[in-house]
C-alpha cells in the first residue's frame, strides 16, 4: 500500500454536459495529514468532495481512497471514510444521542459497540449534557460538533470535512478547529477538508490546494506557498545617517532592499531567520538598529498572486455567489 491515502487522477465532473465543476484535477493526500481545498464558493470544492465520498460519479478520470476505487469499490470506500457535510444534516426532531446511534446503525455497528462509541464521542465533543435534548435546541457550534461525532462513529481512517466552520462566528470557529485537531490526534486519521476561509486553511491544514474554476492552481504547505511569493517584509531603521542597502543586499536570503528615507524595506525569504543576520551584520560594521518590524505574507496574498483576485474581494460579492450557487443547484438536479 502506498503512502498516499487519497489519489486523484484527472478527476472531472461535468453537470448537464456543459457545466464543468471540476476540471481534470490531480492531487494526492499523504497518510496522517490535513489536506485542504481552498477556493471561493463555486470553485468545485464540494463537487470534488462529493465524488470522493461516492455520492457523485465522476464524469472522467479516477480517484482512490485507501486504494479503493471510488467508482468501482464505492461500498468499501464508504466503510472506511467519515463525512462531515457542509449542511447540518442531523435530524432536528431527534436528540443528539439518537442521531449518533442512527449514524452507527447506518454502518451496521452492533448496538453495544454503538452505545459505547456514542457516549465516548459525545463526551469528546462536550455534548454529553445535551445528548437527550432535541437537535432543534442546539446552537450552530453544537450542531457542528454533533456532525463531527456522527462522522466519527465508524472509526474512519479518512475524515472528509466540507466547510467545517461555514457560518460560525469567529470564537466558535476557533473552538471548532480545536475539536478537529483533538479528534485527529485522538484517532490518527487523515483529513481532507474544504474551506473558503483563508485563516482556517492557514491554521488547520498541513497542505493546501488552491482551486478556482474547477482547476487546481497550486499545491503546497501554507508556509511554502507564502515563501513562494518571495518572502517576508522586514522594515528597519538605523541610527547612523548612511546608506547600507548594499551591505544588506549581500546577506543570504535577502531578495530586495529599498531605502525609503532612512527606513529600509527588505524582502527576504524566511524573514524570521534572516532578520537576526541582518542585525548582526549591521552591528559588526558599527551601525545601530533602532527599529525593526517584520510582516509575513498572508494566504490572501498567496491567493491574489495565483488567482489574480483577492479572496476577500470575491467574498464581498455575496449576491453574485448566491446566484452562482442557485445555478449550480439547478444544474445538479
Amino acid at each position: 500500500m502506498s503512502d498516499d491515502v487519497i489519489i486523484a487522477e484527472g478527476l472531472t465532473k461535468v453537470f448537464n454536459k456543459h457545466l464543468t465543476a471540476v476540471d481534470h484535477v490531480n492531487f494526492s493526500v499523504k497518510h496522517g495529514e490535513i489536506f485542504g481545498f481552498l477556493g471561493p464558493n463555486g470553485a468545485g470544492k464540494t463537487t470534488t468532495i462529493n465524488m470522493l465520498i461516492t455520492i457523485l460519479k465522476p464524469t472522467e478520470g479516477k480517484a482512490s481512497v485507501l486504494d479503493f476505487d471510488i467508482a468501482k469499490q464505492s461500498n468499501e470506500v464508504r466503510n472506511v471514510i467519515g463525512v462531515v457535510p457542509q449542511e447540518y444534516t442531523a435530524d432536528e426532531d431527534l436528540t443528539g444521542w439518537e442521531n449518533v446511534i442512527l449514524c452507527a446503525d447506518l454502518y451496521g455497528i452492533p448496538r453495544n459497540v454503538a452505545n459505547e462509541r456514542a457516549s465516548e464521542l459525545l463526551k469528546l465533543v462536550e455534548l454529553t449534557d445535551f445528548k437527550d435534548k432535541k437537535v432543534q435546541t442546539y446552537s450552530g457550534g453544537m450542531r457542528r460538533r454533533l456532525e463531527l461525532a456522527c462522522g466519527l462513529v465508524n472509526r474512519p481512517k479518512v475524515l472528509f470535512l466540507d466547510e467545517p466552520t461555514l457560518g460560525l462566528d469567529v470564537q466558535t470557529r476557533t473552538a471548532t478547529w480545536e475539536y478537529i485537531r483533538k479528534l485527529k490526534k485522538e484517532f490518527g486519521m487523515t483529513l481532507f477538508m474544504t474551506t473558503h476561509y483563508l485563516e482556517e486553511a492557514d491554521a488547520l491544514c498541513d497542505r493546501i490546494a488552491i482551486i478556482d474554476h474547477g482547476k487546481i492552481i497550486v499545491v503546497g504547505t501554507p508556509q511554502d506557498l507564502k515563501h513562494s511569493l518571495g518572502g517576508d517584509i522586514i522594515t528597519l531603521s538605523i541610527k547612523e545617517n548612511a546608506d547600507v542597502s548594499e551591505l544588506i543586499r549581500s546577506i543570504d536570503n535577502v531578495k530586495e532592499v529599498k531605502n525609503e528615507d532612512g527606513s529600509y524595506r527588505i524582502k527576504a525569504e524566511y524573514g524570521e531567520v534572516t532578520a537576526p543576520f541582518v542585525i548582526e551584520a549591521l552591528r559588526r560594521k558599527g551601525y545601530t538598529v533602532t527599529k525593526l518590524s517584520m510582516t509575513e505574507p498572508t494566504l490572501n496574498e498567496v491567493y491574489l498572486e495565483y488567482t489574480g483576485k483577492s479572496m476577500r474581494d470575491t467574498e464581498e460579492s455575496r449576491e453574485a455567489f448566491r446566484a452562482q450557487r442557485i445555478t449550480m443547484m439547478r444544474a445538479r438536479t
Binding site: L66, E76, P85, D93, L106, K157, T333
Partner: protein, 312 residues
Amino acid sequence: MSKLNQHNPSMFHGTWALTKRELKKWLKEPIILLMAILQPVIWMGLFGKAMNIGNMFSAGNINLPPVIPIQGNFIIPPQSSGVNINGTALSQMFASFGPTLMKNIFGVSDYFSYMSVGMISFIVLFTTMFSGMSIVWDRRLGFLNKVLSTPVSRAAIIFSKVLNASFRAMFQATIILMLAVIFGLQVSSTFNPVYILAVYAAIFLLCLGLSSVFLALALRSTKWETQMAIVNLINLPLMFASNTFFPISQMPDWIQAIAQVNPISYLTDAIRRLTVMEFDASAVMFDFAFLSIFAVVFSIIGIMLSWRYLTK
C-alpha cells in the same frame, strides 16, 4: 485491508434503522397524526352522513296523494271511467325499493358503511403521497447525502420510506375503522374477525405500490413545490375515479376505464368484500392478485430507479 469492513450493514439492519427514524419523528409530532386522522373523519361526516343517499328513497320523500286517479288508456282492458290507486300503499312500496336499490347498486344497504370503508383508501393514498415529499426534504436538508455516503444499501433508503408509509397508513386505518364502527358502520353477516388480517395485508400491498410510485417521482427532485403540485394534481382525480365514493358501474365509460386500472378501486373493493359486503372469495382473490402485481411491479421499478438515480 480486509479488517476494515468490520461491520457491513445488512439490508434489513439499514432499512430498520431508517424506518425507526421516520417513525420516531412521526410519534414526536402528535399534531400531524391528529390532523391526518381528523381529515378522513371530517370527510366521513360530510360525505358519509350528509350525503345520505340511502335515505333519498325513504317513504317521507315519496309524497303521493292518498288516492291517485288514473284515466283512459293506461288500463287494460280500457274503461272509460278509469281506476283509483291507493297512493299511500304505493309510496310505501316505493320506499321499500330504497334498500333494494342500495343493495343492488352499492352492495350495502346504507351509504355510510359504503364510504367509510373507502376512507381507508383515502388515508392510504394521502399517506403514501407524502412519502415522496419526505425524500425531497431529506435531500434539501442534506440528510440524504449523508446517508448516501454511508455503506447502507440504496434500496434500504427507499424501502424504509415505503415501510414508514405503510405503518402509518395501517395505524391510521385502524383508528378510522374503529371510529366508523362507533359512528354506525354495519358489518355484513358473513364478516369474520380473521378477515381483519386480510384487510391489513391489502393495505400493505397498496402502500408498497403507491409509495414506490411517489418516491420514484421524487427521487431526483430538490423542490418540494414540484412534489406538492404533482400531489395536488392527482390526489382528488385518483380518488373520485375509483369506487371510493360511488360505484364504478354508475359512471360513464371513460371514467370506468380509469377506475378499472386504478389500484385504489381494488383496495376499496377488497376491504368492502371483507367487511361490509357479503364475502365473495373469488372477487377478493382477484383484488389481491391485482394489488400484488401492482405492488411487486412498482416496488421493483422504485428500487431499480433508486440504484440508478440516487447517485448522480
